[in-house]
C-alpha cells in the first residue's frame, strides 16, 4: 500500500495551482485534505502523474456566513465548518456525522463534495439546499500555448454537479474554489438523520429533510435528500404527501412511504436494498417531524 511515483506540486496561490493543473491535464489531481485521495493512491486505485497540493493556498480557507448563503472555501476543514457560529443547523449536524474527529480535522468540505461519494453527507446537503460549486480554471488565450494568468470561473448547480459515484462536473484543469450553501427560506426547518453501522462510518442511509411552512403553520413544501441509496445524492419531493396540512396534523409516515417508493437502492454486503428502503421510510418520517418542529420554532 504505497503510492506509485508522482510529481508533487505545492503552489501558494490559486493562479499558480491553475497553471499547474492546466499543464498536467488528465494526469493531474488536486490534493486537499487527502482523506479520500491518499487511501486511493496507496491502494493504487488512482495513479496520477502530478499531485497539486492546495494546502498552502491560505486564501481558500474561509467560511463566509452571509445572510443569503454560506460560502465555504476549498481549504476549509470539516471541523472548521462545524465550529463556525454562523453556519445553519443542517450543515452543522450533517458535518458532525462525517467520519471521526481526526478525519474532520483534515478533510475539506469542498473536497468531500468534489469527491462525490454517494454515501457522503455534504453532497446531499448541497443538493437539498440547492447550492452550487464554483469552479476555476486558467484562461487559455488564443495563440498562446501556455494558459494565461487570468482566471475563468463558472458556477455549477448541485443538480448538475453530481454525475455518478465518485464523478463530478469538475474538469481535470479545474479547481473547485468554493461551495455555496443557500440559507433556507424563512419559516423553514431542517433535520439530518442517519444510520451507520459504527459511529462515524459512512451511513447505510443518510436523510436530510427541509420543511417550509406558511404563515398559518401549514406545510407548503417538504424535500428529502438521501445518501447511500443511489449513484448520486437523491432528492425526493415530499410535498404532495404533506402539503396543505397544519404542521401539527401532518402524518410524516406518508412522507416516508412516498420517499421509500421513490428511491432505488441496491444490495451490498452491509444491507439489502429492501432494508435501505425501510431506512428511507423511517428516517424520512423521523427527520420530517424534527424539521417541522424546527420550522415551527423558526416562524
Amino acid at each position: 500500500m504505497k503510492p506509485p511515483p508522482f510529481v508533487y506540486h505545492r503552489p501558494a496561490s490559486v493562479v499558480a495551482a491553475l497553471a499547474t493543473l492546466a499543464e498536467a491535464g488528465e494526469d493531474g489531481k488536486v490534493l486537499a485534505g487527502g482523506q479520500s485521495l491518499v487511501p486511493l493512491l496507496n491502494m493504487r486505485l488512482t495513479q496520477p502523474g502530478h499531485l497539486v497540493d492546495i494546502n498552502r493556498i491560505r486564501e481558500l480557507s474561509y467560511v463566509d456566513a452571509g445572510s443569503d448563503a454560506v460560502r465555504v472555501g476549498a481549504l476549509t476543514r470539516h471541523a472548521e465548518l462545524a465550529r463556525h457560529p454562523g453556519v445553519p443547523a443542517l450543515l452543522r449536524e450533517a458535518t458532525g456525522c462525517v467520519a471521526h474527529p481526526a478525519i474532520r480535522n483534515r478533510g475539506t468540505t469542498v473536497g468531500s463534495i468534489v469527491h462525490a461519494d454517494p454515501a457522503a453527507e455534504l453532497p446531499a446537503v448541497l443538493a437539498l439546499l440547492r447550492g452550487s460549486v464554483t469552479l476555476a480554471s486558467a484562461a487559455a488565450r488564443p495563440g498562446r500555448a501556455r494558459p494565461d494568468q487570468e482566471i475563468v470561473r463558472r458556477s455549477v448547480a448541485a443538480a448538475d454537479f453530481f454525475l455518478g459515484p465518485l464523478t463530478s462536473a469538475v474538469r481535470p484543469d479545474e479547481l473547485a474554489v468554493e461551495a455555496v450553501f443557500p440559507r433556507p427560506a424563512p419559516r423553514s426547518g431542517t433535520a439530518w438523520l442517519e444510520l451507520s453501522r459504527r459511529k462515524g462510518d459512512f451511513a447505510l442511509c443518510g436523510t436530510g429533510v427541509l420543511v417550509t411552512l406558511d404563515e398559518d403553520r401549514r406545510v407548503t413544501g417538504a424535500t428529502g435528500a438521501y445518501t447511500g441509496v443511489g449513484p448520486v445524492p437523491v432528492l425526493v419531493e415530499l410535498t404532495e404527501a404533506v402539503a396543505g396540512r397544519p404542521v401539527d396534523a401532518v402524518d410524516w409516515d406518508r412522507a416516508g412511504t412516498l420517499a421509500a417508493g421513490a428511491v432505488a437502492p441496491e444490495d451490498d454486503i452491509h444491507a439489502t436494498a429492501a432494508y435501505r428502503r425501510q431506512l428511507v421510510r423511517v428516517l424520512s418520517a423521523r427527520a420530517g417531524a424534527a424539521a417541522a418542529r424546527m420550522a415551527v420554532a423558526d416562524g
Binding site: M1, P3, R198, G200, Q278
Partner: protein, 792 residues
Amino acid sequence: MTTKLFGEPIPRREDPRLVAGAGRYLDDIDEPGQLAAAFVRSPHAHASIVDIDVTGALEVDGLVAVYTYEDLAGPLAQPLPLLIPHPSLRAARTPYPLAKDRVRHVGEAVAMVVATDRYLAEDAAQRIRVTYQPLPPVVGLDAASKAGHLVHEDVPDNVSAHLVQEVGDAAAAIAAAPHRLHLELHIERSASMPMEGRGVHARWDETDRSLRVYSSTQTSTSLRFALAAKLDLPVDRVEVVTPDVGGGFGVKIVHPWPEEVLVPWAAIRLRRPVKWAEDRREHFISSAHERGQQHSVDVGFDDDGRLLGLSVKFLHDNGAYTPYGIIVPQVTSTQLPGPYRLGAYRVEFHSLYTNTVQVTPYRGAGRPHGVFVMERTMDAIAAALGLDRTVVRERNFIQPEQMPYDQGLIFQDGRPLVYDSGDYPAALRLAKKLVGWDEFTAVREQARAQGRRVGIGIACYVEGTGVGPYEGAYVRVETTGKVVVATGLTTQGQGHETVFAQIAADQLGVPVENVNVVTGDTRRFAFAVGTFASRAAVMSGNAVAAAAGKVRAKALRIAGEALEVDPADLSIVDGVVSVKGTPQAAIPLASVAVLANPLRYAFDEQAKQATQFAVGGGIHRPPVAEDDEPGLAATGYYSPVRSTFANGVHAAVVETDPETAEIRILRYCVVHDCGRLINPRIVQGQVHGGVAQGVGGALYERIVYDEHGQLLNASYMDFLIPYASEVPAIEIDHLQTPSPLNPLGIKGAGEAGVIPGAAVLAAAIEDAEGIPVHRMPICPSELWELRNADHR
C-alpha cells in the same frame, strides 16, 4: 513464599513504554543498506500459472531481485510444514512459499520482489505480468461438500479431515427421549485482525555465518527451528527475536509463513538486510481466517429439560490449506459440552477445502462456535418446555463435588478431557445477580408498554486453557540485586512483563521494580512453545515460579553459609536475606549473587562488600561443587499432565429498534473464573478485550467472499471492527476456583472474553424479538429481513 504481589492489581509495567509510543514494532526496525520486499499475489481464487513475465519490473530503478518458485531449491522448494498432524487429517495440504503451478486463493504469493524500498518494490511488483488459466473456484461449505469442483486435484471430495467422537449411544438416547429438537446453527467466517500485521526482518552476517530474524510472531523458538530446517542452517547460527508485537490473536502462531522463510532466504542470498511489513490488504487476503462452520444438532431431553443425548454434525471451512491441522474443529467438538453432563454425546465433523484463505485458530479457536451450539440448544430446550433458561442450565450442570469430571473425550492436546475444578452453579448464581435476571421479566414488560423491545441472554462456557507440552524460564539475580527473568514464550501486549515480574518478585522477596522480564528472544531462552490457547500465565507463570523457587533456595543456602545459620531460619525481604527475628544478621541478595560466582575479580562495590563473607567448602573442595553451577541463577520448566479448565458466564441485555432493527447492547455482564488471579487488573483487561472481540464477532465482523472467491471487504472500511463507541461498558465479577493441577492454582484467561459473545447476544436478541436467531453474526439489515421472513 510471601503473597505480597500475587493477586495485586499493580499497573502494567509495559504501558508507559507502549502507551507513549516508545514501543518498537517490526516496521520500526531499520538498518543501513536495508532492502524491502513486496509480493505479487494471485488475483484469482483458483488458477494455474501459465507464465510469469518479469521484464516490465526490470525497468524499475532500485529493483534488486525478483524470485519465483523456480528459484527455490532444497527444503524451501517443498510445501511448508504441517504443524499439527492428526490421524483424522487424511488429506493435509500446505502451500509452497511461492505458488508452484497453481494458486488456490486470492492473495496467494506468486513472486517476491526485493528493492531498495517498499515503494519501488510495489512499483516493480505491479509490472510483473502473470498469465493465469482460471479454474472453477470452490467457495462456501455447500460448494465444498458438493465437490462439483475440487480445490486440490488429488482430494476427490474436498475433505481434509473427518472425525467422530462418541460417548455412549447418542442416537439411541435421542430416539428414546421424551422430547427431541433439531437445530441448524451457523457461524460465519471472521479473522483475528491484529492492528499490526505480520512482518519479518532478516539480517545475515556473512563473517559470522549467522542469521538474525525479527518477526512479529507468537512463537520465536519454533520459528527458529523451522528456519534452520528450511534454510539448511545449524540452529546455533539462527536467532529469532520478537520485537513489540501489536496483537496476534492466533494468526501469528502459524509459522513459518511463506514470507517468514523467504525474507531471511533473500537476506542470505543478497547479503543485505531485508524487511517485509505486511500491509492491511495483504493481511486480509494472505494470512488466515477462522470461524466459518455449519452445525446440525439433534438433542433429546426429558420433561425437566435434562439432556439425554446430543448429536452434532458439523462442517468446517478450512480454506485452501491446513497447516494447523484440525485444531479448530477439534476444539469445537470437545469444548461444545461446556459445563454440562450430556448423557450420550456424538460429534462428527468434516473439514473441507475451499478456494479461500487458510483457516487457523483465532482467539477462542473453535470454542465460540461450540458454545454457540450448546447454549442455543439450551435456550431451545427451555423454550420447548416453557422453562426459565437458567433453570434448564442448572439442572444439567456438572456439580463441584463431581470434580474432577471426565467428559470421556480426547482433547486437542491428545489427552483425556478432564475438568480439574470449577463451580458452575455458583458462577451462574453470580451472573444472574449481576445482571438482575430474576427482575428482568418486569423490565421487559415495562419496555414493551413503551413500545421498546429489550431482551436478555445468558451463556455459559468451559474453556480448556494452559495446554502443554511445556514452558520454561530462566531467573538470575545479578550482582546489583536486580533480577532477570527470561522466558521463550512471546508476548503481544498481554502484560507478561508485569505478571511474570510479580511472580518472580514474590518468590525472591525483591521489589517488583527490580525484576526485568524478557520474552520471545531465542538468544535469552531457547526452549518454548508459544503464546496461544490461554497458556502463557499457566505455563510460563509456573515455570517462572519454579525457576525463581530454585534461585531462592540457592540464595538461602549461600546466605546461610555466609551468616553461619540454618537456611530454614532465613527470610528475604526487600532484597535482603536476614535471620528471622534477628534482622541485623543480614546479607543483601546482591552480595549473595556475588558469592554465588566464585570469581576473583571485584568489579564493583557489591563485590568488594561481599568479600567480608566466607562461603564454599574450604580449600579441599572445588570452588563450584559438583552438583552446582556458578551464579545465582536457575532454569525451571513446567509441564502439566493435561490442560486446566476455566469457566464463566456472560449475560447481556439488548435493545432492538422496532423500525430500523438497530441492535444496542444496554448491559454486558461477565462472571469469570480463571482460578487464582495473579493480577486482577490484567485479567480484567483481557476480559474487556475479549468481550470487544466477542461483540465484533456477534454484531459487526465478517469476512465476505463472492462466488468467485473474491474477498469483498478487504479493508477496515468494510470489515467492521467495533470502535470503543460500539463496545458496551462491561461489568465483571470474579470467582476464584484454584486449579489443583499447578502450584500457583491458576488457569488461563486470554481467550475467555470472546468465547460466549455470539451465544449470549443471539439469546438476548431472540428474547427481545421473539424470533429464533440461529446464525451469527447478525446485523440490522439481517434482523430486519428475519422479522419479515417471520411474518410471512
